[in-house]
Symmetry: C2
Amino acid sequence: MSHKKISIDGTGMYLPKAVSSDSIETKYGIPKGWSKRYSGVKSRHHVTDETNGLMGARAAEDALKSATVGLADIDMLISASGSFDYPIPNQASMIKHHLTDGNSYDFPAIDIDVTCLSFVAAMDMASRILDGITYSRILIVSSEIASKGLDSSNFETTTLFGDGAAAVVLSFNPDGNSTFIKGQFKNHSEGAFYSIIEGGGNVNHISEKPYNEGLYSFKMEGKKLLRQAKTIIPTFVDGFFSDIPFSLDEVDVIIPHQASRAGLEMFKRMHPTSASKIIDTLAETGNCIAASIPISLHMAIQEGKLNKGDTCLLIGTGAGLSIGALLLEY
Amino acid sequence: MSHKKISIDGTGMYLPKAVSSDSIETKYGIPKGWSKRYSGVKSRHHVTDETNGLMGARAAEDALKSATVGLADIDMLISASGSFDYPIPNQASMIKHHLTDGNSYDFPAIDIDVTCLSFVAAMDMASRILDGITYSRILIVSSEIASKGLDSSNFETTTLFGDGAAAVVLSFNPDGNSTFIKGQFKNHSEGAFYSIIEGGGNVNHISEKPYNEGLYSFKMEGKKLLRQAKTIIPTFVDGFFSDIPFSLDEVDVIIPHQASRAGLEMFKRMHPTSASKIIDTLAETGNCIAASIPISLHMAIQEGKLNKGDTCLLIGTGAGLSIGALLLEY
């Protein structure tokens, strides 16, 4: 699919109420300044009465507006997220239901979940199926609520994660200049248990395992994850650029998953000459699971950091452990 | 993508312990014979200590064996299911982790969720991305545990649903005779709340809504669903066959989602001349969410009902409400 003519026609975002690190530290008895120092997060957003569906719909409408298209122009909605409103039905149906007039349209509504990498995987999948025949325009939405699944006794996760949603309108545009150059994904399932919410699925079903905050909250084995990432990321990046006429140094804008301060710093140390091209939204929005990359993409476009003609690499890791990247010319 | 050269190289299945309707009726005080009469289910399977991941891995290994390929030949694993082991990570990572030697391979592991339609949507998506370059062979697994999310006071769901897993190996095979003719999906989100598990996501989060069986079990508004299906299915089927040189009457084998006895009977009444071509596994396995269609596909092949050269229609509805179909020449 090298250099397929795919363009990002519009992006959108919805962020709920901002919550300062100061207020979180006060609320949970975390030492003052801990969040900024260790998680790298000054502020993030937490839902009040918003749902994943509602935030996703508002972000989608923002993206449609920026693309100057309407729902009648959309051939598929993909929800690309790791969190959800209900175990059943799928989240894309809920986002569609929350779209103004969403129920009047019958385009398919499909979920793609690769946890934090869901958005990048959905972009890659969409770019492969866009053919100008069955699918000419696809709406991808990542809407995440992390704040409800955090263990308040775990300073790291409580300060790191945030809620939010972002969306893009992607189109097959043979006459345009924008291209998707390469997408690649891998999974290293020896790390399947390193990032996990143990309770709430079928293994620890709520009917058998009564609620306790630890079991039903997100846990990560930070040291094991960083160790695995240290070996996997350089190999992946080398492999990614091995068969295309590009090097990482030539990429104009790098949008990594905002996994953690340690993760972002490790990536910068691994690629020192590219450090200045990295979009870093961690301090203002935290780790928003799969929504972090599209939020950063949206902000980079809004702030003029990513411009038409620029090459852009979306890259990240996700629980599982998955790793993936997509190189495009915006 | 009409007539793309895609072949099903192998199928596999894993069913946990069979549970008779008699034993369920005794256990929950349901009148004798109720299940067979109203749900149409004589027997289904329930997990004892199996997980979604384990069942999925065993079904996948069965499919690999029948395709005479190994994990080294697989370019992507798709988990196509509505239920899961853990809210995080994604289910495909867990299935990969449970595969013998799964952790030794780094092919991507991606979830596609369109609830009961997940398998058909994954088959369609896989067929579109299979290109003989990046993706030559894709393993699709549907592994479902419905039995833990049932309200025992609801006779209909308690008797209808079963657990099980099935898998297929799909390949791009330009020299073969097998083709994927057409795939199409639609979503009618006015029905988003007709089939639902209300508790366990972010809307009714376990930290805020204590466990009770009703809130955390699958509910369906049977009458509303049947009413919606009655208008949607004929329109969808007419539309599906409107632009291809096939009619439903010409299809050799029809594999519908085993939604319910009422749903299957309605489909048969709508298409009386095709009734004898419909694969019906409901009585023996119940409704296994997304695994019902691949279980039926596997059984149809095993029992000689679907043979090479036959045309086969996979068709179903799913919570959301989604509807979709895939026509292939096996």
